[in-house]
Amino acid sequence: MSKATEGPERAVNVLLSVAQLLEEPRLARLYTFVLREGEVTIDDITSKLEMPRTTAYSDTGTLVELGVLTRDDDQKTHTYSAVPITLTATLDDDEYTVTPTLVAAFGRSPHDQDLDLLIEKYGLGKLAAALTYAIPYTNGEMSERVAARELDLQYAFGVAVLQALRDVVRDMESVDPYFGDIQDAREHPPATEE
């Protein structure tokens, strides 16, 4: 790889990897598990995630190929560890930084009816937006009511989503090295209507 292409090539590869992680919740959940545990074996994955062995092998293989997991082949039992990812998307004046916390939220969705319904009805973008509210909400810096209303969801459903993401935020805050880069809705009041 020549030096001149290395940067752009890496950036686009990360983009594609992140896109794939955010396509399949099972991969997102596996990636999050490895990131939280630090170093895991296939046995850890099959027992903790209750995943068939063949799926564990094929999914870890996929994630290694994507460059978001690394496999240590030196030890007798191979171990896997996660590469923390971060990707900032900018569109006009809007900016969003995808970090492992969004991946964790997505990976949880099949096991959480509120997150599942949110993604089904409103898409992944809404999950990302909700996360920017869940962070100040979890830290007691934004009212549940204000956050749910600005998310523009039925009020009680909005609260349920915030509460679901509160669990994600609490789990990921200390694990996600890029947590501080996620946009905070508290800093961005909606424009006041004239």
């Binding site: 934004m142 009212s143 800093e187 006041t192």
Partner: protein, 179 residues
């Protein structure tokens, strides 16, 4: 189960518990046993949770497949451990002062303009002050998962002459203690 710390546990006078939407939603999320635990807690401590009309309306309109869409608030009301408050008298000057104070507290703590805070956001405070000023209750506990709202109600009531008669109980904390 963590130790229960029940506010105003040591007083003999009437204590009213005012509960917010988020408490019932949090009880329904993931495992539903939390809802049973809340009912048991209410019965054991002889508590009827009072909810503002607004809270009742909010819980009623949620999508079917969401947690709040499946929250059995009506059966809790039928069973008697939850009751819906009458609309507060908004023309009462103390009520409106408390609501204004709650609004400005929430605006500051959420980094928003006051006109972005709605009247409904102050419903807990309105019901609380009405209960205290009518002498329906000597003490009020506000239990909510909305930290800003809980602290705002306590600050507003304290500023309007009801100091030491109001406490905020964190809804998540209560659930951890009773499950």
């Amino acid at each position: 189960m963590a130790d229960e710390s029940v506010p105003f546990d040591d007083v003999d006078e009437a204590v009213t518990w005012i509960a917010d939407s988020g408490l019932f939603i949090a009880c329904g999320r993931q495992q539903n046993n939390k809802y049973t635990a809340l009912e048991r807690f209410a019965r054991r401590n002889d508590i009827t949770f009072v909810i503002p009309q607004r809270v009742y309306d909010e819980l009623g309109g949620a999508p079917d497949r969401s947690t709040p869409g499946q929250t059995p608030i009506n059966s809790a009301i039928d069973a008697g451990w939850v009751t819906v408050a009458d609309e507060p008298d908004y023309t009462d000057s103390t009520v409106s002062r408390v609501m204004d104070d709650v609004r400005s507290y929430i605006a500051t703590s959420s980094n928003r303009d006051e006109d972005q805070i709605e009247k409904a956001d102050t419903a807990l405070g309105a019901v609380a002050v009405e209960r205290l000023s009518n002498n329906d209750a000597e003490f009020v506990v506000v239990v909510t998962t909305d930290t800003d709202a809980g602290k705002g109600v306590v600050a507003a009531l304290t500023a309007n002459g009801f100091e030491d008669r109001i406490q905020f109980k964190d809804g998540f904390e209560l659930i951890d203690e009773i499950v």
